[in-house]
């Protein structure tokens, strides 16, 4: 990006303008969307709750604390499952990228498991792990592990040979090359894997809660569905969207912090 490569006064001002224009556009589009929603529901064109109904329902759910309990139990599951999955993916991915033998042994399994949608594992998980936290966390673990492991492994095998050669001619051993060249060079890939992993963990979780849970945002929607309680479904959906967005932003932010050295085009 030109803003990063030449921090001259003009480009910075232009960059700030472009950014504030984006903010304004984003805000405008948000307002237009809400107005449209209001108009459509007000005119009775669709049988859906309007923005005011949804806001007042969410106020109720906040007042009685229910929504926070749901958010907390959903986030807890995602967090545990994702940390376990990503935590296992990094060493396995590096192992596969670094040792050809490990790759040969592990890759067929990963490729096979990868094409099974994590949700399809739920029935098996429920039968074998019961209906409390374990099956849900396991499914999330699987979803985030599979997305992150591929990215990490791709990162390792695509490290530019010139960097490895440059380190070797400076006297680096294999261990040093791994720690000081391969690891930093593949961090961008690993973080992209985390981002995808977290996204699929979140998607999987909500679906898992729809099927079997006693709390959580997915569970709340499923309950509301039984009573045709559309405002609650809306509140839950919007909350899921906002939380997903916030988590994604956090990963993107971390990514840009950790990979400032990258040339971006």
């Amino acid at each position: 990006m030109s803003i990063q490569s030449s921090p001259g006064a003009t480009t910075t001002v232009a960059g700030a303008l472009a950014r504030s224009e984006n903010v304004i556009l984003g805000f405008a589009s948000f307002v237009i969307g809400i107005l449209f929603w209001y108009a459509v529901t007000r005119a009775g064109l669709v049988k859906l709750p309007g923005p005011f109904q949804v806001v007042s329902r969410s106020a109720d759910m906040m007042a009685n604390g229910q929504i926070f309990t749901d958010i907390l139990s959903s986030l807890r599951r995602v967090f545990i499952g994702f940390v376990l999955g990503a935590g296992a993916a990094v060493p396995v991915g590096f192992l596969m990228g670094w040792y050809k033998r490990a790759r040969g042994l592990i890759e067929p399994w990963i490729q096979f498991l990868r094409v099974i949608p994590p949700l399809a594992v739920i029935p098996l998980a429920i039968v074998t792990l019961g209906i409390d936290e374990a099956p849900k966390i396991f499914v999330i673990f699987l979803a985030s592990f599979l997305s992150s492991v591929i990215a990490t492994y791709q990162g390792v095998i695509s490290v530019d040979r010139t960097y490895i050669n440059a380190a070797r001619v400076l006297g680096a051993s294999d261990g040093v090359i791994f720690a000081r060249v391969v690891v930093p060079a593949s961090i961008p890939f690993v973080l992209v894997g985390f981002r995808i992993g977290l996204g699929s963990a979140w998607a999987t979780l909500v679906a898992a809660e729809l099927i079997a849970a006693q709390s959580g945002l997915g569970f709340r929607m499923q309950q509301a569905q039984l009573y045709y309680d559309l405002p609650t479904i809306f509140v839950s959906l919007i909350t899921i969207g906002i939380l997903g967005l916030v988590m994604d932003r956090i990963v993107v932010w971390t990514e840009s912090r950790l990979t400032q050295w990258q040339e971006r085009v």
Binding site: Q4, S5, T162, Y163, N165, A166, A167, R168, V169, L170, G171, A172, V176, R180, V181, P184, A185, I187, Q260, W261, Q262, E263
Partner: protein, 257 residues
Amino acid sequence: MAASVKIRFNDATRCFGAFVALEKLNLEVMDSEFVTIVGPSGCGKSTAMNMAAGLLMPSSGSVTIDGEAVSGPGPERGVIFQQYALFPWLTVRKNVEFGLRLKGMKERERRERAMHYIELVGLADFADALPKTLSGGMKQRCAIARAYAVDPKVLLMDEPFGALDALTRVRMQDQLLGTWTRERKTVMFITHDVDEAVYLANRVIVMAAKPGRLQEIIEVDLPYPRNEELRLSARFTEIRNRVWHAVYTRAAPALQP
């Protein structure tokens, strides 16, 4: 000139699949000698250098350093790559310190030494900058500082000054000759610039393509230290023309004594 052979290519051949990148190269580079290699693109210059660096193994024949077959790279042979090969996640200073750290040098000494070479290549103001903020020429100078810093006995340089502007280039040439005269390193230097090849070298190695091979070796019997005046001398022009012909017409006229 010292008598012992530093680098010896012995029928060194390198193929990539069925393609012969370099065919039966026979060349001896003496200890403390400065040779430059010129030749058309794709004639195997980088291939030959990578074999001396220990990054490529010959398909047949051998490459020896001090009489021992090259089995891999080592810090006593500094390499400056055609593609700068700086570590983009490290600052200029950390890049230069990379090899020093591997030698187990203490932080303070390392820092001082790195700064010395960074100043030598004129990058002092950019010591804490990341490579992505540097121009091509600055990256190349950083790569040079990184290679010089570990104080290798042999310098293998692949078009190191290619990305520099004319003035910086001349400065870097004189600096390199200065370093070489003081420290008596053995230098193998690839360039596309015939002028540069003659200005720097004891001998100019001219290579030809398809298949990559040795075309001719031209002695440069000009005294060191060399300076800008020398570039204007009749003798320099004469030798340069000879190299030029060897590279581009492959029919070198006899050199007048």
